[in-house]
């Protein structure tokens, strides 16, 4: 019987070098600044359609990615700019995708929700709620088939966790001991419907009937996430099959840019921003424990400022796709 648990107290503490801590800070700050800029460009009409921002959730993907191995794969939902950034994709190419330009990572054909990079083992970027669970299970199937010791980290939201295909995949992944880590980024709202209203029981326990271990972890605590992910990935890589990590996080912005957020109070949002923010907390730790100076962190912030500026310049100056591009990439050409 799988043991699911709510606290992370039993997880062995993971150590971090000062350099690692600074890197996490830099990674998270890049995500935050990227998203803020994306929100601004959206407001200026330079980004269209749906645009889902990750502000507040940065610790989740940063903590998990920090303990992945190079051969591991990642697949996620349409709230994926940060996942793409930390996978190693170029910020300017992601931003140009958001602006629908030829220099975008999907040549301007996918937009905000459809970012992919096979070379960085990042498999999207999927717009259908729940799809990442099944695609991730398939990526894991291929890891096992190829015997490459890879694990797939398949992200989904709390809303997606209710999709029928998630249950189907838990069953198959457990049955075949597939190397997949299901990460449920529970930001408390499936669009505008709160977890209390859409979710019976606890999401991390949903694998119990299949014999899948699950754990709930504080998604605002980078180190708790890292420790839980390390344990989960070790467990999976040892051939034990899937694992569910429910990460309790919070998004500061609306579901998408068009969301006025009437379903939650300003106080609730402020309580996370002011007290639980993973970037502020890490900054505080670095300063208080004298692991970095204000000047060093300022330098990191400036470096990110430059990266974002370069990304915006590229994404706004780069031409739109050639009209002829309308017809390409529908099919992989077959040699005759």
């Amino acid at each position: 019987m799988a043991a699911s648990k709510k606290s992370n107290l039993k997880n062995a503490p993971v150590s971090h070098s000062v350099e690692e801590l600074k890197k996490y800070y830099k990674d998270m700050l890049l995500m935050r600044r990227f998203e803020e800029k994306a929100g601004q460009l959206y407001g200026m009409g330079l980004i269209g359609g749906f645009c889902h921002l990750y502000n507040g959730q940065e610790a989740v993907v940063t903590g998990i990615q920090s303990v992945q191995e190079p051969q591991d794969t990642v697949v996620t939902t349409y709230r994926e700019h940060a996942h793409a950034l930390i996978a190693g994709m170029e910020p300017k190419e992601i931003m140009a995708e958001l602006t629908g330009r030829s220099g975008g990572c999907s040549a301007g054909k996918g937009g905000s929700m459809h970012i992919f990079s096979a070379e960085n083992n990042f498999y999207g970027g999927h717009g259908i709620v729940g799809a990442s669970s099944a695609i991730g299970t398939g990526l894991a199937f291929a890891h096992k088939y190829k015997e490459d010791r890879g694990v797939c980290v398949a992200y989904m939201g709390d809303g997606a966790a209710n999709q029928g295909q998630v249950a189907e995949c838990y069953n198959m992944a457990a049955l075949w001991k597939l190397p997949v880590l299901y990460v449920i980024e529970n930001n408390k709202y499936a669009m505008g419907t709160s977890c209390q209203r859409h979710c019976a029981g606890e999401l991390y326990k949903r694998g119990e009937g299949y014999g899948i271990k699950g754990e709930q972890v504080d998604g605002m605590d980078l180190f708790a996430i890292k420790a839980a992910a390390k344990k989960a990935l070790d467990y999976i890589r040892s051939g034990n099959g899937p694992y569910i990590l429910e990460v309790m996080t919070y998004r500061y912005r609306g579901h998408s840019m068009s969301d006025p957020g009437k379903y939650r109070t300003k106080e609730e949002v402020a309580s996370y921003k002011d007290e639980r923010d993973p970037i502020s907390n890490l900054k505080e730790k670095l300063i208080n424990e004298k692991l970095a100076t204000e000047d060093e962190l300022k330098a990191i912030a400036n470096e990110i400022k430059d990266i974002i500026k370069e990304a915006v310049d590229f994404a706004t100056n780069c031409p739109e796709p050639e009209p002829s591009e309308l017809w390409t990439d529908v099919l992989v050409p077959v040699e005759e």
Partner: protein, 476 residues
């Protein structure tokens, strides 16, 4: 009165089978529900249960007998007080199919000829782009005749199995996944022997979760494998339509050409005989509607092998629409393991001058039968087997219409927004001035498929419907 035990039918389409084994011996006491024998067809093995109680008085058909017709008495049960002398031997004479070879009723060996006048084809760059733009271009090159010198007789079922097995031998990244594909050998016995040859790593029985395993297949394809996903029936693919369309067909485009999905979705499509509306639909037009998919619909054994191999080798998602009525039919099939039919190339199965009949899948056979009847009435019909529904070989269709000036499209699915509708539109766009009669369609009745035998027959296109429609467009 002694009781005759009759040869049972395992399926609605079974007409004969082999008596594999007697479990009970003559003189054994039998209770209702006891297993008395095992029978088998090319698809399945099944146990025969006694319906009545008594003593197994006499076995009329010895074990090992092949091609025993359904409803033939195979044994006689004796009731209380009866003896073997009570058996009326005359009424119990066994009946064996005339040629003594086990196969279903509609099996036949069709010698598929290759029409020499069919265009050789051309090598064209950016073919997919031109198709997308609606440009009519000659089909890819293919010298089918060169493969027909060295053939063997195979059922469509065997041809499909050979196609998969040959490709799996050649490429380790190809695997087969679906419900009952492994230990059960395929719900329609298409994957017979494959588990034994390739092992459980590559021939995988799934739970009954189409949505999940289809999405899994897509993920595996993204990550470097070449999955063949079998749907027991294409009706069940509706559960998985999301991943077929949203994940498999669209990702290449959405990723700017960086993330392809080499995957095959195959299975029985269409009316398999008395299984009613939820197991009988033709989904050709559903799949053919979607850019990013390729769709093939084999009719003959040649088609089955050559198109499935093409589908497996193709770097894109391909739908293979098979037909239950064809699985047991035999054809001459090339032995060459590189017999791969290029997609987007139709085949002229029979040349004619008065009218063009377009068909795919099981309807090709019906169209050919209709053409024979029409020939007797002095109408020369050209029959085109579309083979691929997306991309469609518009060129071959249009060239034929330019010659015959009349066209009838035949499909097992519904008319509304069907493949025939597309054919009509294309002929309108590209050969309007050549038409001597409106484009006509022969399709299923616009109703869910009924179960009752008479209604089912009325609902599905029959040979006479084709004959009638052809004569209508020929004004005869």
């Amino acid at each position: 009165m002694t009781i005759e035990v009759l040869m049972p039918a395992l399926s609605p389409t079974m007409t004969e089978g082999n008596l594999a084994k007697w479990i009970k011996k003559e003189g054994d006491k039998v209770e209702a529900g006891d297993i008395i024998a095992e029978i088998e067809t090319d698809k399945a093995t099944m146990e025969v249960e006694a319906v009545d109680e008594g003593v197994l008085g006499k076995i009329l058909i010895p074990e090992g007998t092949e091609a025993v017709l359904v409803n033939t008495p195979i044994a006689v049960l004796l009731e209380d007080g009866e003896t073997v002398d009570d058996i009326d031997m005359i009424s119990s004479a066994p009946v064996i199919a005339s040629d003594g070879v086990s196969k279903s009723e509609d099996d036949f060996v069709e010698s598929v000829s290759v029409i020499s006048s069919q265009i050789e084809g051309e090598i064209i760059e950016n073919r997919d782009v031109l198709y997308a733009q609606g440009v009519v271009i000659p089909p890819p090159k293919f010298d089918e005749a060169s493969f027909m010198n060295d053939t063997e007789t195979k059922t469509v079922r065997e041809a499909l199995c050979d196609a998969m097995s040959e490709e799996m031998r050649a490429d380790d990244s190809v695997f087969l996944m679906g419900e009952e594909v492994a230990e059960y050998q395929g719900a329609y016995k298409v994957s017979r022997g494959m588990l034994e040859e390739f092992g459980e790593k590559r021939v995988i029985d799934t739970p009954i979760t189409e949505y999940g395993f289809t999405g899994m297949g897509v993920g595996a394809a993204f990550n470097g494998l070449k999955p063949i996903i079998e749907f027991m029936s294409m009706d069940f693919a509706m559960q998985a339509m999301d991943h077929i369309i949203n994940s498999a067909a669209k990702t290449l485009y959405m990723s700017g050409g960086t993330m392809g999905c080499p995957i095959v979705f195959r299975g029985q499509n269409g009316a398999s005989g008395r299984v009613a509306a939820q197991h009988s639909q033709c989904f050709a037009s559903w799949f053919a509607h979607v850019p990013g998919l390729k769709v093939v619909a084999p009719w003959s054994g040649c088609d089955a092998k050559g198109l499935l191999k093409a589908a497996i080798r193709d770097p894109n998602p391909v739908i293979v629409l098979e037909h239950e009525a064809m699985y047991g039919q035999s054809f001459e099939v090339p032995k060459d393991t590189d017999f791969v039919i290029p997609m987007g190339r139709a085949k002229i199965e029979k040349e004619g001058t008065d009218v063009t009949i377009i068909a795919f899948s099981v309807m090709v056979g019906k169209a050919l039968e209709a053409a024979e009847k029409l020939a007797e009435q002095g109408v020369s019909a050209e029959v085109i087997n579309l083979r691929t529904l997306r991309p469609l070989d518009t060129y071959t269709v249009i060239e034929s219409v330019k010659k015959t000036n009349r066209i009838v499209s035949v499909e097992e699915g519904w008319a509304y927004a069907g493949i025939g509708s597309e054919i009509a539109a294309l002929v309108n766009e590209h050969a309007f001035d050549y038409l001597d009669a409106p484009v006509a369609r022969v399709c299923a009745a616009d109703v869910p498929l009924p179960y009752a035998a008479n209604l089912e027959k009325l609902a599905l296109p029959q040979v006479d419907d084709i004959v009638h429609k052809v004569k209508e467009v020929c004004y005869r």
